[in-house]
Symmetry: C2
Subunit: 188 residues, 2 copies
Amino acid sequence: MNGLEGIAPEQEQLIQKARKRVIESIGKNMDLYGITLSHGLLYGLMFFQNKPMTLDEMGEAMEMSKTSMSTGIRSLLDLKMVNQVWEKGSRKDLYEVESDWYQTLADFFGIKWRKALEINLQSLRKSLVELQDLADRFPEDELLQTCLLTDIDKIKNALAYYKWFDKLIDSFETGEIYQFIPKEVPDK
Amino acid sequence: MNGLEGIAPEQEQLIQKARKRVIESIGKNMDLYGITLSHGLLYGLMFFQNKPMTLDEMGEAMEMSKTSMSTGIRSLLDLKMVNQVWEKGSRKDLYEVESDWYQTLADFFGIKWRKALEINLQSLRKSLVELQDLADRFPEDELLQTCLLTDIDKIKNALAYYKWFDKLIDSFETGEIYQFIPKEVPDK
DNA sequence: ACGTACGTACAGTAAAAACTTTACGATCTT
DNA sequence: AAGATCGTAAAGTTTTTACTGTACGTACGT
């Protein structure tokens, strides 16, 4: 079940070859999203599938265990790169790739980068308060003040950067970024 | 040598604690850049250092082998997150963090994401040509045409997305993005 | 209610990555 | 030129990650 049923074997092979090139290319580069190669290939496989897939179908196509498919799908779901869909009459879970890649990118930043950003912000703020506190307690200690100032300065710079970064991610989520760089229209 | 020489031990400890919190937070989240935890911690360490560091100093501070520092620095150099600096009279290599985080982010996209983008583009274009070629050779085969069209459509959509993404990265490298989202000014 | 099918938790294993030790070539000092 | 110092390549070890097979809880069909 690859959506090519009924095609002459010779032609099907050509299509498969063309697909495989894209699948492997995309799959390999998905490490940028923190996705392993095999899960990236799974994504690539599903990308060319025109129907939602079940875990069993994936396992057969990937020649891997169903368990692996389960974990792979889960990490793809976490990033909203695939969606679960429902079809009446099917007991099995069905999944398909999110076809809107702009949305996928926005989700990725919203999920992963925003979380990292918030964790870092929290640490930076807490440490900033502590250092400022220490500075306030020994206003006459020149050496201490100098040392503290450089640390505080770095933290403030980092905070400013993260504030900017936060706004950038916002623009992805709201879609304002597309006013700055409009979505491209596909050929023909 | 942590830039805190001469500070009262009690106060130094407080500063170290504040630094450590930030270092660990940043270090952990550097996996988004494809940097391992220990190399991320190395980056964090260097972030608070006010002087360029040698591999030996890093090894001592991190309690790790010099070889590890060497490889860590290399991956940070690849992403331009640290810079090599020269001081006359020193035989040892010296490194310091790139303090401009906006630049660091732009470099990251320019180096990693752009490369992935180009690889994918190449695969997509090649497969597109092959599929269009196949379509041209059997214009009367309805079933084949339908199948090919869906694949070709997907590829064209992907190409459009990557075209947009390319422009986005451009805007980081040229700095135009800051016209859309201005850099933030640090407090005080 | 019982049997069956499904997804996943869990434990074990195989593969990969991270880290250290050792060794070596290059460069500088004397 | 000999000796010392530096960075890293290479090999070996340890730790982590990826994957599989089994087992279990849940839900559905009869």
